[in-house]
């Protein structure tokens, strides 16, 4: 056998394998991507909520993208408590000023960042929320203070459309 023939065959093998791999990947990707959120799911991207009936010290829970969103109208004590916490004491340091632009209103996903349960209102060691599943405690700013959850409850994108209406998403 001459060396030249071997090289030719090697090239054919490599080229065939490479083209085959690209082809297989091109077929596999649609099969994987079909499981991602579809157009109809993505279309439900925003919700408008009327918050006029909410009095201080109360929470409204609404469903947004299949997840509960807590809208809390905070009392002055709650705001003071949230704003007086030192950053060193936080597991996931975030200023309350950044989480609640308008201090009276706290809007966040009511989803525990541990494994996705819905925390309970006005419970726990920090007067905020308590997750019954695995015992995570959140403060009056929805920040994780104790327990297995790694992060604060997420603040979604939202805005006040007018004085009484919040648009989430």
């Amino acid at each position: 056998m001459s060396e030249k023939k071997t090289e030719r065959r090697d090239f054919l093998f490599t080229a065939t394998t490479a083209v085959g791999a690209v082809g297989a990947a091109a077929v596999v990707w649609p099969m994987i991507d079909q499981m991602n959120p579809d157009a109809s799911v993505k279309a439900l991207a925003s919700t408008e909520v009327d918050v006029s009936s909410l009095t201080p010290g109360n929470t409204l829970t609404v469903l947004w993208r299949g997840k509960p969103v807590f809208i809390r109208r905070r009392t002055q004590e709650e705001i003071d408590e949230a704003r007086s916490v030192k950053m060193e004491d936080l597991i996931h340091p975030e200023k309350d000023e950044d989480r609640a632009k308008n201090p009276e209103w706290l809007v966040m996903l009511g989803v525990c960042t541990h494994l996705g349960c819905v925390p309970l209102n006005d419970k726990g060691d920090y007067n905020g929320w308590f997750c019954p599943c695995h015992g995570s405690h959140y403060d009056t700013s929805g920040r994780i203070r104790k327990g297995p959850a790694p992060w604060n409850m997420e603040v979604p994108k939202y805005e006040f459309v007018n004085e009484n209406t919040i648009k989430i998403g």
């Binding site: 994987i32 499981m35 991602n36 959120p37 579809d38 799911v41 829970t61 469903l63 993208r65 299949g66 997840k67 509960p68 541990h114 494994l115 996705g116 349960c117 819905v118 997750c131 019954p132 599943c133 695995h134 015992g135 297995p148 959850a149 790694p150």
Partner: protein, 420 residues
């Protein structure tokens, strides 16, 4: 092997067998030489085959009435329970069948652990078994989601969220698993599809599991290699068939007790409340057969490490044949291992118990100690024991201890031949 010489008696049989040797296979299965000292712990392979077939048959019939849609799933299950002829029976068999399946598989696994059935040359049988066990857990989890009750929904939420512990890509994977931003209809339909598929994957793996078993043959309570066929073996049929059949009958009594007298005792009352994404049940617990692993998950205070510990607890079993350094298979001849074995059994039961309790105070402490011991058993005790332990003398054959336990081979053979 002698069964290769098999020739069907009838002309038609010969004609068929020359073209597709199914009769040779059937002959191999009936004549298959089995150690004659197998005890009742060896009957769970047959019992598990029965469980798998029961789940497939009842599952197929349930699928004729079930509707995999978030708005209709819960109602369709109630429809099965109330309206469909014998629907209650079929569903109770299927739901309790899952528990019975796991009961049997745990006994099967712990039998392997006691008698060292995972050791050379049976490592592949063991690893196939672990893959089957993993698929069983996946199937059971997804099946539990289908009735779309509160436990279904929140169980699905918690378990899929385990993947969010993976750094960087975790959140993306969870969204991909859900097909949305929370557990919802797309999640339900894909879980139904996979729940339907997995039993057939298990069936294929069971064929491989048995195939791999038939190469070296069964391990046995004495744990020694035996010649087959020989005085130490009996043909599978009728001896083992009858024994397996009797054990299966006993097992079915237990099964029937749950189906007819306590069909909901192993379930959770919250699952008779329709799924509500706004309210999490006060106390989320998985089905009993997953509790030990749930306890391990919760015993670690870090999210990612908790998930890693839980998965390791299962995957560590796959490398068990190499962690156990002892050449002796059966715990009968390993006085120290025998004690550690029972401590491990107790440890797993304790993990199961604290897994069902709230993760706080004393329960949490116990869970942490038990989790540490679980890993200690596999990673330290087993490897060291193989070198340190003084094992008892192992008989030369199964027949020997019965006919007079002389460690002298010649004497034992002499004795045997006299009896014959």
């Amino acid at each position: 092997m002698s069964d290769h010489d098999y020739r069907p008696k009838s002309k038609v049989g010969q004609w068929f067998n020359d073209r597709l040797p199914l009769l040779t296979l059937a002959n191999h299965l009936t004549d298959y030489p089995t150690p004659k000292n197998l005890n009742y712990w060896w009957t769970f392979g047959g019992i598990l085959t029965f469980c798998l077939i029961t789940q497939i048959v009842t599952g197929l019939t349930l699928a004729m009435h079930y509707i995999a849609h978030a708005d209709m799933a819960f109602e369709s299950v109630e429809h099965i329970m109330r309206d469909v002829n014998y629907g209650w029976l079929i569903r109770y068999i299927h739901a309790n069948g899952a528990s019975m399946f796991f009961l049997a598989v745990y006994i099967h696994i712990f039998r392997s652990l006691f008698y060292g059935s995972y050791k050379s040359p049976r490592e592949i049988i063991w690893i196939l078994g672990i893959i089957i066990y993993l698929l069983m857990m996946a199937a059971a989890f997804m099946g539990y989601v289908l009735p779309w009750g509160q436990m279904s929904f929140w169980g699905a939420t918690v378990i899929t969220n385990l993947f969010s512990a993976i750094p960087l890509v975790g959140e993306g994977i969870v969204t991909w698993l859900w097909g949305g931003y929370s557990v919802d209809n797309p999640t339900l339909t894909r879980f139904f599809t996979l729940h339907y598929l997995i039993p057939f994957l298990i069936l294929g793996l069971v064929v491989l599991h048995i195939w791999a078993l038939h190469v070296p043959g069964n391990n046995n309570p004495v744990g020694i290699d035996i010649k087959k066929p020989s005085k130490d073996t009996v043909p599978f049929h009728p001896y083992i068939v009858i024994k397996d059949g009797f054990a299966l009958l006993m097992f079915m009594i237990v099964f029937a007790f749950f189906v007819f007298y306590a069909p909901n005792i192993l379930g959770h009352a919250d699952n008779y409340i329709e799924a509500n994404p706004m309210v999490t049940p006060a106390h989320i617990v998985p089905e009993w057969y997953l509790l030990p692993f749930y306890a391990i998950l919760r015993s670690v205070p870090d999210k990612l490490l908790g998930v890693v510990a839980m998965l390791s607890a299962i995957l560590i079993l796959a490398v068990l044949p190499w962690l156990d350094t002892s050449k002796i298979r059966s715990a009968v001849f390993r006085p120290l291992y025998k004690q550690f074995y029972w401590i491990l059994v107790a440890d797993v039961l304790i993990l199961g118990y604290v897994g069902a309790m709230p993760a706080e105070g004393l329960y949490l402490l116990i869970a942490r100690v038990a989790t540490a011991y679980y890993f200690l058993h596999f990673l330290v005790i087993l490897p060291v024991l193989g070198f340190k332990e003084k094992t008892l003398p192992v008989p030369l054959s199964i027949t020997e201890p019965v006919l007079g336990g002389s460690p002298n081979l010649a004497a034992a053979r002499n004795k045997e031949s006299k009896i014959e």
